[in-house]
């Protein structure tokens, strides 16, 4: 079985570490980190990921822009994208989902919820 590859695009190092800490509970996982949308897109185009996690509010390129670019790409349009953000308004959620997000989590969220959502999106039994 090849390892599960996850790309975490988040500008806050604290939050990145928090997400990675939660994801490392998955068996055989490889995590790549990016601190903004542009870096995230570069990494996304270089590797085949099983899942992408994006924050909305980021410098240079925000998460929604990155999400729409991922969905426009012909090869990677089916890859699950999980948005994790401080934006808790229904309108933000709807917007992300309409752009093709497969999951939407609002901060602060426990690591166990992140893990559970990721497992659901990857089709891994809980």
């Amino acid at each position: 079985m090849p390892p599960i590859k996850i790309l975490v695009v988040e500008d806050s190092p604290t939050m990145r570490q928090f997400i990675c800490f939660a994801l490392r509970r998955l068996p055989d996982v490889e995590i790549s980190e990016a601190s903004d949308g542009v870096e995230g897109l570069k990494k996304f185009n270089l590797e085949n990921f099983n899942l992408v996690m994006v924050d909305i509010n980021m410098p240079i390129m925000d998460g929604l822009k990155l999400l729409s670019l991922i969905r426009k790409g012909p090869l990677n349009s089916k890859i699950p994208v999980l948005v994790i953000t401080t934006e808790g308004a229904q309108a933000d959620r709807d917007r992300a989902l309409s752009l093709g997000a497969d999951g939407y989590l609002t901060k602060p969220t426990p690591g166990s919820i992140i893990l559970k959502t990721v497992k659901r999106l990857l089709g891994i039994a809980d």
């Binding site: 570490q17 401080t86 609002t106 602060p108």
Partner: protein
């Protein structure tokens, strides 16, 4: 008329013969009678035998019936005994099942508790790790902001540090509020000043948020302390809309911030100062040695 003498023996013989015949006849009759009796007796014996045979057959049938009657009874008794055993066994199994179910529930509950504890520890570990990951003062302030936004879930808050010379609190970082909105706060003045003076956390009882942010009506004040000395205060005014109440871990984070954020700020300030001094000394030495 007299019979001649020669006829006399003949008569005698006849008489004897007749007598003999009579005796034989009598014996025959006796024999016949005996035979009849024997026959009757035999008939009687046959009848009795027949009766006995009949009785034997009847008894055998009765016996069979009884056996038949007795056997199911025993079988029923056996079955009843078995049923009782099974009922007992079932009760034992149910008891065991109930015990295991209870144990399972306990484990599930324990799992949830451990999971929660794990989450909390992860939060605290990461917060602590990040706070001590740098000696750059600006970075430390940024990390504090990140912790308060991402791990606590605050939308509007400020970080004030103590100005030793003026004994006031000055804003050094803010999120969701303009730094200009917060004037210097004297130690002991208002809720924030009191927290800086006493070093005791303040959490507003009325959790409902006011329409507009009132500077002197904070939601939470966390004193940043090194031992008992307060070097600053983190003041939370508003939480993110999805954050409706504080969780257990938030109080732990308040405690962690109170100690670790203070130490991180203090260390980074000292380091920055020493770096500055070192740079000055180096410049001075360079100047002297040229």
């Amino acid at each position: 008329m007299e019979r001649p003498e020669a006829e006399i023996p003949q008569v005698l013989d006849d008489r004897a013969e007749k007598e003999e015949e009579r005796k034989v006849s009598q014996r025959a009759q006796e024999f016949l009678q005996n035979f009849k009796k024997g026959a009757e007796f035999t008939q009687e014996l046959l009848r009795i035998t027949e009766k006995l045979r009949y009785q034997v057959v009847r008894l055998e049938e009765e016996n069979r019936d009884l056996r038949r009657a007795i056997q199911p009874e025993t079988a029923i008794q056996d079955l009843e005994r078995r049923i009782q055993e099974l009922v007992r066994e079932k009760e034992e199994l149910l008891e065991k099942y109930s015990g295991i179910e209870q144990e399972n529930q306990d484990f599930a509950q324990r799992y949830v508790e451990i999971e929660e504890e794990n989450n909390n520890l992860a939060n605290l570990y990461i917060a602590s790790y990040q706070l001590h990951s740098t000696l750059d003062y600006r970075e430390v302030l940024q990390i504090i902001l990140e912790i308060v936004i991402n791990l606590i879930g605050a939308e509007e808050f400020v970080l004030l540090l103590r100005d030793e010379k003026k004994d006031t609190l000055l804003v050094v970082a803010a999120e969701g509020i303009s730094q200009d909105e917060i004037p210097p706060i004297a130690i002991g003045e208002g809720i924030i000043g009191k927290v800086a003076e006493t070093g005791v956390n303040y959490i507003r009882k009325d959790f409902a948020l006011p329409e507009t942010t009132e500077i002197n009506n904070p939601l939470v004040c966390i004193p940043l302390k090194i031992k008992e000395y307060v070097i600053g205060v983190i003041v939370l005014y508003r939480l993110l809309r999805q954050k409706t109440q504080f969780a257990e871990v938030d109080y732990e984070l308040f405690t962690l911030l109170a100690g670790h954020a203070a130490t991180a700020i203090f260390s980074s300030r000292l380091y920055s100062e020493s770096e500055r001094r070192l740079s000055t000394f180096r410049g001075f030495i360079d100047l002297l040695t040229r």
